[in-house]
């Protein structure tokens, strides 16, 4: 832990009772001042490095140090910067270039914004390859200009924004674009330039096939989706305990990667497997090629190998609110689980006072009377009405996510996973209105929304937590953390949660009839 990590503040220290009168242009760090040392906030990092250097020197060359006690001139130690410098020169140590910093991206962002750093800057995963001060400053400047550009976009000053984008592209050449802040900034600059120069084709939405491939590589490159799948399966397995006729409704089938583990767990459960029905919702495939059915066939093959009675049904819909409950053909005798991995946020609207497309969907979900509804969502606030707030939040969120992706060693998976993330970034930054589907909201808002729609929260048990922890131990470097949050589980990077899993159950309904197979009432 460096001596400065908890004390970086732009001159406005909160807890210290220091009585230093501070010139606003050159602030003295408040917390150190309380201990009697005067150090300028801007010099904190250099002073820290030199103190560490001094410590190394003193440990390695104790004989040289002893002469300091006899005839050296002692400088005032309260002026820490010059005191350290003088000691180092006494010990004939040359000045060193600053060490390669282990700044994480967030530190850059916080520096550029001038605000207090909430993240331990020593915990850094992105080492700058050339490690010079110039590069660090470029990184800070990059973020600063990025924020200024976003601000001008926010105010509608597009020509000003365009000039900032040119400047940003120039700045990008002086940082390492392969890692750290350079990489994240590159994607955001790209997104901003799409928004400013080509707003019509801004969305990067590809074909359903491409999306599924990118999703698959995102699944393999980092543990977020694995965490989502395994946690959801554990909760669904527990909900299905004791029932013989079960039906899972998956809001986004993709390649069906979630379901083999559930099928296997059901095959091995004491008492034998139930009859499992799976209804997979997905986008329609072009030119007659039925990808939903193909996935269903593969899952059926697997289920047959392990002797689980299995039936699959595919529902093709481009948006979730196109799905009508009668399409799901729910049987009143079966127990239903609804599984939504990062789908519900696509139904939100931007104006909280007006209804959004999600309300009728939540209503028909509730009318199905499901035993469990699994909701996994990105833990971020990307649905704020103001562009600048969204941009700032997205910069923090995706910087953290890219940080965590550095741990992935498989190059192909990592590149394609980055493309997957890039699509999300473009959607958050470039798109508006109906085109903007990545409307992430944090867990608290989902709690309010689902509670208001007639669902009660089910606590994910300790089994789910233990399994998630084990999964992380297997798949990751240090840095990921699983946390429990009032019955929900979150997975994050260095204590910033990035994805949250929660389980819900419909509150007992007295008046609504269950939709039967022949029930054609239009619920939307």
């Amino acid at each position: 832990m460096g001596p400065y990590d908890s004390s970086v503040s732009a001159g406005s220290s909160s807890g210290s009772s220091s009585s230093c009168s501070v010139k606003p242009a050159d602030p003295i760090d408040g917390l150190l001042a309380g201990a009697g040392y005067r150090v300028r906030s801007s010099e904190l990092r250099q002073v820290a490095q030199r103190l560490e250097r001094l410590e190394t020197v003193m440990i390695n060359a104790p004989t040289e140090v002893s002469h300091l006690a006899n005839d050296a001139v002692h400088y005032n130690p309260s002026d820490l910067a010059s005191w350290v410098d003088s000691l180092l020169s006494e010990l004939h140590q040359p000045e060193i270039a600053p060490d390669p910093s282990t700044f994480s991206d967030l530190n850059y962002i916080a520096h550029a914004q001038g605000g207090p750093v909430l993240v331990n800057p020593m915990v850094g995963h992105c080492e700058l390859s050339s490690g010079t001060e110039i590069e660090e400053d470029s990184g800070i400047r990059l973020v600063h200009v990025l924020m200024t550009c976003a601000e001008s976009v926010h105010r509608g000053e597009l020509s000003l924004a365009a000039s900032f984008i040119e400047e940003l592209q120039g700045l990008l050449t002086s940082v390492d674009g392969e890692r750290g802040i350079g990489k994240v900034a590159g994607y955001f600059i790209d997104a901003l330039s799409r928004r400013v120069f080509a707003p019509q084709e801004a969305s990067l939405a590809g074909s359903a096939f491409e999306n599924a491939v990118l999703y698959h590589h995102f699944y393999e490159a980092c543990p977020y989706l694995k965490f989502a799948h395994f946690t959801a399966n554990q909760a669904i397995l527990e909900a299905f305990d004791g029932h013989d006729c079960v039906h899972v409704i998956d809001f986004n089938l993709m390649h069906g990667l979630q379901w083999p583990a559930l099928i296997q767990a059901l095959a091995l459960r004491p008492g034998g497997p139930p009859l499992l029905r799976l209804t997979g919702i997905g986008p329609p495939s072009p030119d007659g090629h039925d990808s939903l059915r193909e996935i269903g066939l593969r899952l059926a093959e697997l289920a047959r190998s392990v002797n689980v009675r299995f039936a699959f049904r595919g529902v093709a819909a481009s948006r979730l609110d196109d799905v009508k409950p009668w399409m799901l053909q729910v049987n009143p005798k079966e127990v239903i689980a609804v599984n939504s991995i990062m789908q519900l946020h696509k139904l939100l609207g931007s104006d909280p006072s007006r209804g959004s497309p999600i309300d009728p969907v939540l209503e028909w979900i509730r009318n199905l009377n499901p035993k469990i509804v699994m909701v996994v969502e990105q833990e971020a606030n990307h649905n704020q009405p103001e562009f600048l707030d969204r941009f700032t939040e997205a910069l923090h969120y995706y910087s953290t996510m890219f940080d965590s992706l550095e741990a992935c060693s498989a190059q192909l998976e990592k590149s394609l996973a980055e493309m997957y993330i890039q699509r999300e970034i473009c959607n958050v930054v470039c798109c508006e209105g109906l085109a903007r589907v990545e409307r992430h909201e944090p867990l608290d808002k989902w709690r309010d929304r689902l509670g208001g729609a007639g669902f009660t929260s089910l606590h994910l048990g300790s089994n789910a937590f233990k399994q998630a922890s084990m999964l992380l131990t297997l798949f990751s470097a240090e840095g990921y953390c699983v946390e429990e949050n009032e019955g929900c589980l979150t997975l994050g990077w260095h204590s910033r949660p990035l994805i949250a899993a929660s389980a819900w159950q419909a509150m007992p309904v007295l008046q609504h009839p269950l939709p039967l197979i022949n029930h054609h009432q239009n619920v939307i």
Binding site: V213, A261, I263, R298
Partner: protein
Amino acid sequence: MVNLLQNGDVCMEELKEETPMFCINDNEDVLVEILRRLDGRSLGSAACVCKMWCGIARNDALWEHLCFRHVSPPPSGVRPVVMALGGYRRLYMVCVRPVLSRLGRMRVRVGGGESDLVSRVWTRQEVELSLSLFCVDYYERLLGGGGKLGDAPASSLIFLCKTVNV
């Protein structure tokens, strides 16, 4: 054995073999018993000795024993599932070995917040997790066989096998 003849000459009779020379290859059941007690790496080496040893060492029953000999009680009803998904030898290579070594090496925080060094004895949850990962591996091979993803898809378990740069 030396015999004294009537005329005083000495002749050597053919030494009758009282105890037959022991050859392990003639005693398959003993070989199996020995192999059962080996660890996975040694079992793999044993399979390289000769054709006969290869055949025996590849016997899935040996690998089943290796996978679950530290689990008590041994999981029941698992065998048909494992056989359908690729067999115990594959289960060991692809899942059990990396899971055990990873979880054994690192300290696992159990829910109560205490750090325990996980011993070689499995918990039920580790068994379940390994089986689930094994099933995902089988499914990904199914997907790849259909040619849907173009070139052979990287299994999600590859990340499991790469040493983690902690």
